[in-house]
Symmetry: C2
Subunit: 352 residues, 2 copies
Amino acid sequence: MTRKPALAVVGATGAVGAVTLQILSQHADVWGEIRLVASPRSAGRKLAVRGEECEVYALDEDALAGVDVALFLVPAEVAARWAPIAVAKGAVAVDASAAFRLDPDVPLVVPEINPHAARIRPRGIVASPHDTTLAMLPAVGALHAEFGLRELVVSTYQAVSGAGRGAVEALRSQLSLVAGTELGAGPGDVRRAVGERGLGPFAAPLALNVVPWAGAVEDGGWSSEELGLRDETRKVLGLPGLRVAATCVQVPVLTVHSLAVHARFENEVTVARAHEILATSPGVVLYDDPAAGDFPTPVDVAGTDPTWVGRVRRSPDDPCALDLFVCGDNLRKGAALNSAQIAESVAAEFLL
Amino acid sequence: MTRKPALAVVGATGAVGAVTLQILSQHADVWGEIRLVASPRSAGRKLAVRGEECEVYALDEDALAGVDVALFLVPAEVAARWAPIAVAKGAVAVDASAAFRLDPDVPLVVPEINPHAARIRPRGIVASPHDTTLAMLPAVGALHAEFGLRELVVSTYQAVSGAGRGAVEALRSQLSLVAGTELGAGPGDVRRAVGERGLGPFAAPLALNVVPWAGAVEDGGWSSEELGLRDETRKVLGLPGLRVAATCVQVPVLTVHSLAVHARFENEVTVARAHEILATSPGVVLYDDPAAGDFPTPVDVAGTDPTWVGRVRRSPDDPCALDLFVCGDNLRKGAALNSAQIAESVAAEFLL
């Protein structure tokens, strides 16, 4: 086949869609047509991709016809309905939502770790992991390949932009409210300044606070994001018995998820070898010299593609365990970039 | 001895000193004289304690004469110099700083856990743990007594007030700066808004950020606060071989340290039994019903005495491991309250 494949970007007008159009404009151009699709209320808008203004089409069956790859950057319930329709129309669907991540007939792919999994897709669908999991996987997967991962204990410091524009606006408005007062020094001050209506989508005020909850309530007191991080990590790494305990916490950061990772391996580790691996792994930047003030933080990492890794330490009590701190932009690798990489790997099949 | 013991509060004019004077005014009054002591520049000020205005004396040998218990709420280098002088003058010194915490001849005491340790003090000094360690120990110690602690993996979410007034002012000013802009949505925006001079005592901007560093650089890439949390927990619990891996992270919160704790025990655990223990342990409040939105957060806990515990979960992969999220006010139990409790336990010896 010499024709370049056609791509549909479904959800082109959202926050992740905007980053995706940037990425498609910057990457090597493997696509023929790029068709922008969104909800009917966005139809007719024009958005730039590859230097050209393109019209946005309303999501319907016609919009998915004649497409080779359909990238779904939409809520799970929308993807659950429309990805199978895209497949029935002849496309490979690449889904960034949670709809198919744990479906045994849908591969869950991080191209730096398990690229070949994307080629076996019984349902015609390939899924991309959740942004929190993606922020750590390039680093953890590289260390696993060398040392053999046995157990992860993870605590997250999650930015609000993963929760959508409403979450970003709520944090902005909360910060303005507390900045205008004595900034919430006393008990209840922040709750009073923010008010019930100022909570936005959060379970508690996020300005001057951290909120140990993300997702839906699951059995045993776990949140859906905590169990998702466990299940998705197991699936991507091909380690169904991996022990994973996660605590997901939202913090007042706009963009970039951070994770404190305690990883126990089958084999003894050294910081020197871990540094070598991380410094040479695709999609990973090692930034680790605390004496020089070098460790990743969200505001320094925002807008970049890789997983940044710092604070690499060997446990003083366990020669098989490493502790690290990782930061990854949840809108880029966490969503748009990983999905675009998967779509490009599918496109490469067409060009063989 | 029928005379009530005399107490010196050294560092009475600082943030922890202010909370201590509140606590001494609220607790059962076991003291004869309460003498307020601070640096010479604060001498002559008047502060209220037990409803009376008291003059502040400059720290010198005379200020420590005739005192039975001297409470040191001052930087480590000041305590290192003056606590032994107080002892030489006949007092028992209770020190909230790091100066003596790991001295084998100085007991490190959390009254809910190891009250009797305060009675064996070869140097005449009793130390109080670091605020981060204190935020978790009442809960972790209670669970240890039942299940037998083997290993801790801890990630912290540390408030700025533990780092002093300069840190609080720096965060307030950073928040005002970013609230006046587009709030740092892009890479570098927060760094530009805050500027080099706006960093204050932090290694990176703290507004809209998290900073994975606290303390001094130690061997192996560890920070002094991370190793301190390990060493102090071992000492208070009397578990010299306890495995502890901590990652200390500063967050844009004014007061209250939070910790995500993964605790592995010798024996199998259940959430139900852990709930019973935590609900009935002194100094601990169980607040754990995510379906009802009940979990502790810093802004709700600020200004209170106990360690608040929520998100209690048994690891799905390890029947001997619990995950929990704890919050504790670093100025109260984390500093002023624990030291006052130790001083009161020493006072009780005088009243026997």
